[in-house]
Amino acid sequence: MKAKLFFFALAAFVTICTFAQPNIYPAKKFKGHLYIVNGTVHVGNGTILEKTTVEINDEKIFAVSPNIPIPTDSNNVRVIDATGKQVYPGLILSSSDLGLKEIANGVKGSNDFSEIGEYNPSVRSIVAYNADSKVIGTLRANGILLANITPEGGIISGSSSVVQLDAWNWNDAAYKYENAIHLNMPSFIPKKPRWAASTIKTTAANPESIAIAKFDSIKTFFRQAKAYLSDNTHSNTNLKFEAIKGLFNGQQKLFIHANEAKQMLAAISLQKEFNFDIVFVGASESFLIADLLKQNNIAVILNQEHALPSTEDDDIDQPYKTPYILQKAGVLFALNDASDEPRYRNLSFNAGTAAAYGLTKEQALQAITLNAAQILGIADKTGSIEKGKDANLIITDGDILDMKTSNVRFAFIQGREVSLENKQTQLYKRYQYKYHIK
């Protein structure tokens, strides 16, 4: 009863806010104590804690326990009764053009995700990240609070940075700068020209030798960079080489975008030769080489669960069950949502599908929280509901993995309660008003 009343009050407050202001404000810094009491806490590491309280002090999680006394005398205390609710870590989008791509097609001016040229390691996604993108709000409303903003195009696209999704500008948004350099592996499969007639034969050149030649040039680039970086007395500064210093000293990971088994098999040699910390992004054929990935300790970001099988003979549920195969093999993996039409907001349902096809629900959750944080190099700060981490978490009505029950009621980034309103909820209200409907 109490909880219901509270929700009602909150809803009224938010409604007024929305109509009073055409804009949605990023939340102010939180100073104080917040107690989320009596919820089912999904830690993000596979553990579920029933009837547990999460205590937040300022921006950090201070304690997670069933028995935390709540001070009654302080006016600096806020309590949220989460009885019957689910408490999850904020979800993390592992690789995305969010904030770089506003209108996907036909409006070139709204796009900043793909640069010209083959080797662009010094290109930084963070500087083009549009914190005011209309898409961002729809992700927060679905529990996604962090995203790794990834540039595209060429062979080396540039560096990604992790942002939190409630900010005035990119400087505010930045959560981890330049965490990874992004490399696109050449394809080993002949490509049919997009407009080709079915009768036109594919090119005679062997795609494999073309791919290997391209890959050799990639290695050459890294070898030259390594040589350059092992000496610091340069008469000419090479910004491309300077930009990947982090790859060699372990400060940065190399995210290799590859879907084909052969692309991945070839790319493993980069780990061996340069001692890079590599991650495969896309990785739709990772199910064919799961044990090799485990052996080499390579993490994977599966870009799109909701995809068709690659071949007509593949198991009809192949993409759905690939996470289970990786899990069984012990591979560290994250699930992503790269779908251009719903615009990434179905991240938790990608995980839900993985749970329907073999993963446990907590494993599926981990793939969009703690695993993602580990792969992005931010697990020390976030990814799970544990003492000392940033208070990035959400409260939902029910199972976040199932659309039927996944309504997000609260979201907190570094302790700040962020708005769940967005352009779509505002338009919804506008037309509820027009038609007098609830």
Binding site: F188, N259, A307
Partner: protein
């Protein structure tokens, strides 16, 4: 000055070598000859059914004079002794472009939606409107002898071919010519023998048609136009193309379809206009013999059997589909399948990489069940009869043209060879050197010119390329080549591999060759080779390649997930399930469902029914099958984008029952899909509602007796926003409205004209379809996004007195929901798509909920082959976005689309008497964890998750067997591998709207297709 001299010299020489022709002056002394030959002692196969032993054949002036066993031999003829030889009629190939010149042979690359449109034909003159319709093309006017090409046919046994220009949809007439190298005028034996058609627009640069269904539409319209043109309509003037079209109608009509389903499509066009095409097949017909036989057509079969692929690398082998692997094994059984089904057919060398593959492939087909008699029939009497030239060629009979083959054994035996191919009474040598059997033991005497001692060897010749020489000290191996009357031998020391000696000799008399040679040191000698004993050429001499009988099974469809035996309707009793009725009963728990004769018979507790298969429904949920209002699967082409109004094209004309996405979507509980034309233009094509009956043919895929629909589209796609150089009207939403206004005005005028002047009015398939809308016989589903365009469409409907039945996508429908309601439209939308282009910037996930609450009939559709597998989940999002009840959410993908498509009396809910199109789910169907366990259509289980698990094992086993077999072929040294293996491309069709996640080897024909259709 010099150049003309040489040209003249060449011409003179040429004239001497060719036959005299009356009208041509002779430069020199007249040299008239009768060219009379008598062939004796031959086994003469007059026709496939008649063989004469020890026969005599007499020819004169290129004609057969007499044939028989007791024919008196004339004294004035050259006699050729054909002891141990066979004589056959030369073959006829009725599908060639031999000797035909082309303007340009470059096929136009596939249609590019973003490129400017070419609206008019580039052909100059008083021809028809479409550049791909060129019935005025006459092969005999384009023909000239090409002896290089002729030889490649002659070598395979052909004497006569039908030739035509293989270009365009209507290709004009074909001519029958012989393969003689005489004079163009004399080799043409029938100048107009056939008329040719295809679905392929070839070199036409005109944009229309861009799709298979467009090709079919243009054919259909041209048949009507040609009939209308017979009355000389003054509005048309002179139209050479239509004139020629009409003139060609009395000829045999030959259609190049090149695929099993295209065969049926072609046959149906023939049926529609009351005649039979002779169909040039594709080679995969054996996969659907029953349907092929039902066409009652005669066929022309190519022997283009696929080559083995290099599949040693498992990462590459993975992309070659079981479908392709099986086809590799089974394609050579295609002719035998036709014979078994008793379908008349001819065989062609067309579609081969080169003609030399013809005979080997023919022998392969024979070893896999084609009878020799049928093979000969398919190469002689059948094509002759189909072309009405049996009075001239096709058998060995007096009065016919002297086209025949001389072989050294029964023609289809591996060990036999064609020695000579006689065409119009002239001899063309093929394997002349085999005329005499030279195998045997010889004495080779070598007489050095200098003082060396002479040598004698015993030489054993075993076949036409190898010889062994033996002396006391050494055994030498030799390479042999024979070009009668010369023989060349090159001997090597067997151990050292070094040259011993080499020689060339001429046949002096039978069995004695004299010549000169040189040994490894350069010592010269003369030599003679004389026969001691001859060895009989025996069949066993030549290794007969054993062809293993193929093991692959024909399934329906042909890929891995097909049925070996189609499932049938059975009485099913599902016990104790949770049934979502979509009716006033709501959700019934612990209830039974009985299905009989494909219908829902009973829904109640504790039903008992004898003779029903019982399915335990405990813990399961049963719903009506999902209906996808907006789908682009199961079709060959989707967009005919070359014009803004293409209401004449029909998705029904190009359904593809083999699309794996049918099966995949069954696994997501989909039972019916509305296959829409794409959104490339304002008035697109006619749509087709199908049921996902996996394994049936295209006709059986259709949802029978459903109201016909048509696709309209508004906004960015039809104004070609993404094109930098659009030249197609409209370029704005203002123009879109103008297109609609114009089309309906034209349709009204057309109807008036049909009433006042029924005979004189040209039948217009485009306007027929629009008139049907006005008469409420056809209904619109209209792709739309923003409120302004939805509103303007509604106003058009009001102006012309009809309702836009459905607005699909309709992502700003929530802004005009009240107006949509007042107009009476249904709406079909996405759950949560937005921001993929400007016109969806205001799209919201609450759209469905708002429209539902305003009282519209709301559907959730896929428009995406992947998402269609999860439409139940898409519906569930309306619970999240807008608080729709679970029952109402499910209706958005079941009952509501049934209502929108006017089939709610048949499907969409679980109600007694409706079609048994149902899904058994493992869980609440709106949960992400729910899986369709069985998907049932008309009481037939088309998808069963348990069967699916079994199929995975079978697919793996069968793939492995075929891959091993291919690798075996590589290991055995086959030089004809496809390397690297060609991935089996997955064609995914879509609206033209958005990107999809279709896997690694998909071709997203977003805009549409290719020059081939």
């Amino acid at each position: 000055m010099r150049k003309p001299f040489w040209v003249a010299a060449v011409l003179i020489f040429h004239f001497f070598t060719i036959k005299a022709q009356e009208t041509f002056p002779v430069n020199g002394v007249a040299d008239k000859k009768s060219n009379k030959y008598t062939f004796i002692n031959a086994t003469i196969v007059k026709d496939p059914k008649t063989t004469i032993a020890n026969g005599v054949l007499i020819i004169e002036d290129g004609k057969i004079i007499a044939v028989g066993s007791s024919v008196s031999v004339p004294s004035d003829a050259v006699i050729i002794d054909c002891k141990e030889k066979y004589i056959y009629p030369s073959f006829i190939d009725m599908y060639t472009d031999y000797g035909i010149t082309y303007g340009s042979k470059q096929p136009v690359a596939g249609f590019n939606f973003n490129a400017p449109v070419q609206f008019q034909s580039n052909t100059k003159g008083a021809y028809g409107w479409n550049q791909a319709i060129k019935p005025e093309t006459d092969a005999y006017k384009l023909f000239s002898i090409d002896d290089g090409a002729a030889k490649s046919f002659r070598d395979q046994g052909f004497g006569t071919v039908l030739t035509h220009q293989k270009d365009g949809i209507a290709r004009g007439s074909g001519a029958v010519v012989t393969l003689a190298n005489t004079k163009d005028n004399l080799v043409i034996i029938k100048e107009k023998a056939s008329a040719h058609y295809s679905f392929n627009k070839g070199t036409s640069t005109q944009s229309y048609p861009t799709s298979l269904m467009g090709s079919i539409a243009v054919l259909r319209q041209t048949y009507y136009d040609a009939r209308w043109y017979k009355n000389n309509p003054s509005s048309e003037g002179i139209n050479i193309s239509l004139q020629a079209w009409n003139n060609n109608q009395t000829l045999p009509q030959i259609f190049e379809s090149d695929d099993k389903w295209n065969d049926l499509r072609a046959a149906r066009i023939g049926d529609e206009f009351g005649f039979k095409y002779i169909i040039k097949a594709g080679g995969n017909e054996y996969q659907r013999m029953k349907d092929i036989a039902a066409t009652n057509a005669a066929f022309i079969l190519p022997l283009n059997f696929p080559k083995a692929q290099d599949v040693e690398d498992p990462n590459i082998a993975r992309f070659v589909s079981l479908n392709d692997l099986k086809h590799w094994e089974l394609a050579p059984t295609n002719p035998a399948a036709f014979e078994k089904a008793n379908i008349p057919f001819a065989i062609t060398a067309s579609d081969l990489e080169n003609n030399s593959l013809f005979f080997p492939n023919l022998l392969k087909a024979i070893s896999l069940g084609l009878s020799e008699e049928k093979a000969l029939t398919a190469l002689t009497t059948t094509p002759a009869n189909l072309l009405n030239i049996y009075d001239k060629v096709g058998s060995i009979e007096p009065g016919k043209i002297a086209n025949f083959l001389i072989t050294n054994g029964p023609i289809f035996k591996q060990s036999s060879s064609i020695l000579e191919n006689w065409i119009q009474g002239e001899k063309y040598e093929i394997h002349e050197s085999l005329w005499n059997n030279i195998n045997g033991k010889y004495t080779l005497s070598i007489n050095y010119l200098s003082a060396f001692p002479n040598n004698n060897y015993v030489v054993q010749i075993n076949n036409s390329t190898n010889a062994i020489a033996v002396t006391k000290e050494d055994t030498l191996t030799g390479n042999l080549s024979i070009h009668t009357p010369t023989i060349s031998l090159h001997f090597f020391n067997k151990k050292t591999k070094k040259t011993a000696f080499r020689l060339t000799a001429f046949l002096t008399t039978t069995n004695l060759w004299n010549g000169t040679g040189e040994d490894s040191l350069g010592n010269k000698f003369t030599c003679s080779l004389s026969l001691i004993t001859s060895t009989k050429k025996a069949d066993s001499n030549k290794h007969t390649t054993k062809i293993a009988q193929p093991l692959a099974k024909i399934t329906y469809p042909f890929g891995g997930y097909g049925f070996e035996k189609m499932p049938t309707s059975e009485n099913l009793l599902i016990k104790n399930a949770t049934i979502w009725t979509n009716e006033k009963d709501g959700i019934l728990k612990n209830t039974d469902l009985l299905i009989t004769n494909g219908k829902i018979e009973k829904v109640a507790k504790n039903i008992s029914f004898p003779n029903a298969k019982i399915i335990d429904g405990t813990g399961k949920h049963i719903t009506a099958g999902i209906i996808d209002e907006h789908s682009h699967i199961a079709a060959v082409s989707i967009n005919e984008g070359a014009q803004s109004v293409t209401s004449e094209v029909r998705i029904a004309d190009n359904l593809n029952p083999d699309d794996i996405n049918i099966y995949r979507q069954l696994s997501g509980g989909v039972t019916s899909s509305h296959i829409l034309h794409g959104s490339a233009n304002t008035i697109g094509g006619q749509t087709q509602l199908i049921k996902l009956r996996w394994g049936v043919n295209d006709e059986e895929l259709k949802f029978k007796n459903a109201d016909p629909f048509i696709k309209f589209a508004l906004g960015e796609n039809v104004k070609k926003t993404s094109s930098q150089n659009n030249n197609r009207f409209p370029n704005t939403r203002m123009g879109v409205e103008a297109v609609l206004n114009d089309a309906f005005t034209r349709a009204i005028d057309y109807e008036k004209s049909l009433k006042t002047n029924p005979k004189g009015t040209r039948k217009d398939l485009e306007l027929d379809a629009i008139a049907e809308i006005l008469n409420k016989k056809r209904f619109i589903t209209c792709h739309s996004y923003v409120q302004s365009e939805i509103l303007s469409a509604i106003k058009i409907g009001e102006k012309y007195g009809f309702t836009f039945n459905t607005f699909t996508h309709v992502l700003e429908g929530y802004k005009v929901a009240d107006l949509l309601k007042a107009h009476g439209s249904n709406v079909s939308t996405f759950s949560d798509w937005w921001a993929y282009k400007q016109e969806v910037a205001d799209a919201i996930a609450y759209n469905a909920a708002i429209m539902h609450k305003v009282g519209l009939n709301v559907c959730i559709n896929s428009d995406d082959a992947e998402q269609a597998r999860r439409l139940n989940q898409e519906a569930a999002k309306t619970i999240k976005y807008g608080g729709i009840s679970e029952e109402d959410a499910l209706k958005m993908v079941t009952l509501n689309p049934a209502i929108a498509l006017h089939v709610d009396n048949r499907v969409g809910s679980i109600k007694i008497g409706k079609d048994a199109d149902i899904v058994i789910w493992s869980d609440n169907p709106l949960s992400i964890y729910a899986k369709a366990e069985k998907t049932i259509i008309d009481g037939i289980v088309y998808f069963d998750r348990e069967r699916d698990i079994e199929l995975r094992k079978l697919i793996a086993t069968e793939r492995n067997r075929l891959i091993q077999k291919m690798i075996e072929e590589k290991r055995s040294g086959s030089k004809t591998l496809i390397k690297p293996a060609e991935p089996s491309w997955q064609t995914i069709l879509s609206c033209e709207d958005h990107e999809q996640s279709n896997g690694l080897i998909s071709i997203d024909f977003t805009q549409n297709n290719s020059s081939s259709y």
